[in-house]
Amino acid sequence: MLDNGLQVRVVEMHTAPLVSVWCWYRVGSKDERPGLTGVSHWVEHMNFKGTTGIPPDDFKQFIDRFGGFWNGYTWIDQTTYMATATKDALDEMLFMEAERMDRCLYDAEATESERSVIVSELQGGENDPDHLLDIEVTATAFKAHPYRHPTIGWIGDLQTMTRDDLHGFYRRYYTPANATLVIVGDVEADQALRQVERRFGGITAGPEPSRVRTTEPDQTGERRLEIVREGATGYVKVAYHAPAATDPDFAPMLVLDAALTGAKGLNLWSSFSGPTPQRRARLYRALVDGGRAAAVSGSFVATAEPYLFMVSATAGEGVPLDELRDSALAALDSARDDGVSDVEVERAKRQLRARIVLENNSITNIGHQIGFFETVAGAHLLAQLPGRIAEVSSEDVARVAARYLATNNRTVGWFRPA
């Protein structure tokens, strides 16, 4: 750790002449107050629009000259910026992240231009009924906790937020003590640390950022919602409040999710890169093999505070939506009441073991995992999870199924094509 509080993790991997740099901030949409929803995501956009040391026109090309891939994302607990490029780009990458941490411009005209880019991003998402339903179910599942609002924000807030709102948020949360820098690749650790000190050491520590402190009250009854809109396909989602990454129930819930919908592993970044092994999963057999759904999936991700386990199903051709919803709920209730078999648990654990190996297949993915877990629970959890998963028993899975798949703990939503 640097004197200003910046956490630094360097992992040497000399398999290819590449380096991946990830700069993580413990700020996401859970840190937003009403009226400023979407601010953390918009700040992320603004932080690609020039600094005092890198002109706006150069910023998005800075890494390209090294053949690099760069990106960033904002989610509920974190915001991150990444680049993977040839190893000779390391110092430039560190320079860029140091600039981003301390010296972004927030030009008024650029802010207005980006407003319409973000509204366009929001509207592009709304073109997808599945995405729309996801937002509504999440907003219904939470009453108090800021996890309820979408990371991109509500349209009214995006229309009224000011440049000063954005800049103020940036100044509060983009401090060394609120960040973790991860470097993975063909580097020498000591030299890399010296470069980090040179680029980041002069940035002032800054005060501890304020946090929205709210605990979601226990849900007291099932919630249901329906969206009726023009569309071609019906969708059903069932969301249950679920444990945070640090909760002892997290590993058994991972196994339960894998048994019900197939193992996704632990890497949010790489989880979209391929299909999930799920043909023998409980809900796939009940809904897809059962002829009611064209697809089914589950989502359970490591989060800093209790979030959701969400099951999604796409209606099969000609299948009434109510029939799909009732079948999904029946399959979930069966897991709640009777648990899952030893065979299902063992298969789920074996899948998770394979996925965890396969998802760490690049310096980019390894860099993501170290930083992501740092922002939700501390990197030690990442190292512990394979062992914890191996120790999960059928009884553990039955216990978390009975606890979390309770009727009173769920929100059921469906999109009905008009």
């Binding site: 000259r65 509207q123 073109n127 092994p277 043909r279 899948q351 297949n361 690049s362």
Partner: protein, 439 residues
Amino acid sequence: MTPTLGLAPVREQLANGITLIVKQTPTQPAVTISAAMSTGSLCDPLGGEGTAHLLARVLDRGAGTRTGDEVADVLDLHGVSPSITVSRHTTTVTCDCLAEDVETMLELVADMLRAPACSDADTEICRGQLLTRLRQDEDSPATRALEAVMPLLYGEDHPYGRRPKGSPATVQSIDRTQLLEFHAARFPPDRLTVVLVGDISVSGAVAALTRVSGAWRGGADPLMSAAHELMIERLAFGEPWSRLPPPAAGSRRRLVIPMPAKAQADIVYGFTTIVRSDPAFYAYWVMNNVLGQYGIGGRLGRSIREQQGMAYYAGSMFEAGHIAGPLLVRAGVNAGNVDRALESIEAEVVGMARDGATDDEVTSAKRYLVGSIPRSLETNAGIARFLQTTEQFGLGLDHDRTLPGLVDAVTVEAVADAARRTLRPEQAAIVIAGPYEES
């Protein structure tokens, strides 16, 4: 920009005609299996559009001596989920597995391609999934625009102009017999390329693939094949792709697909380009990077997204293939900005065609493309993709070493020439899908 890479993969031809390419990378106890059959949606019978896609969905639902449930048991037990993709020219099964499971998975993948069961029950499940996918595509402005531009560019009767996934009517009409006939005629071992990358030796790979596929002999059943040729009328089996008809002669075409309930409109503005074997390919690659990729969407992204704030995405994609593939400019914009976005696209296209790219732009794009090569080869799956492309287009086993030089040799003049040849607004095909109506 000196090439320093050296994959040095090993290529072997098995007795039954299967091509095997192996690259050992023992850094992780895992292997990527990529098995590509040179049969894609272009081979769909006329009136049977969607056959290749439906077959691909059924491939992993019962194969060889295993039932669908038994295949699922093996896959799920090992945490493997094959990705089966269909392009116009290929059907590819790809999966990552632990090194300890590679022979089991290889046998399963070989069985899928050699002897899919295509049971009635599984075909019905997969047909339902494909029909739902078609409905979802029809509800997506981005997909509608992308699909609609192809018949505009190539002509409705051209193999590139047909819908790769078919229509609900054609998908409904494909029965099990047709699937099996299609498979018998179009999935012989000598059209299969298997690439193995990871913690596996060359000798181990050859032995494993020989063991699991050695009994797979011969080409298509001649009788079945003859019947199939009568059915498809157009493409004789084994005919080189280069004999496909060229794109339709171009005149400017414009199509609006009104989708009033949607929040955003998607624009596709397309041209036809060149074949992959054209020596100008690398100049086109650089030109496309300058136009619609470098930074965040090249010149297009800078104008439409960064300067005017009109779109979340704006850029271009270029795909040269066995025939002249498309270059497609794409943007997603608010309906009120469609006309302005189109004007901006046209301005960038015309400017690039008239003036080419600057020295700085070409240098930057070349640095990016050369620098991105090691990154694209970072994972086993990335190497497998690269080697499949290399094999498909006959680029040579040393292509990872020759590629930097080929890009480096591109001149400003060659980029300008590529732009002049292709970016001709009077021949563009334009599609707008979303909450927009022609004024």
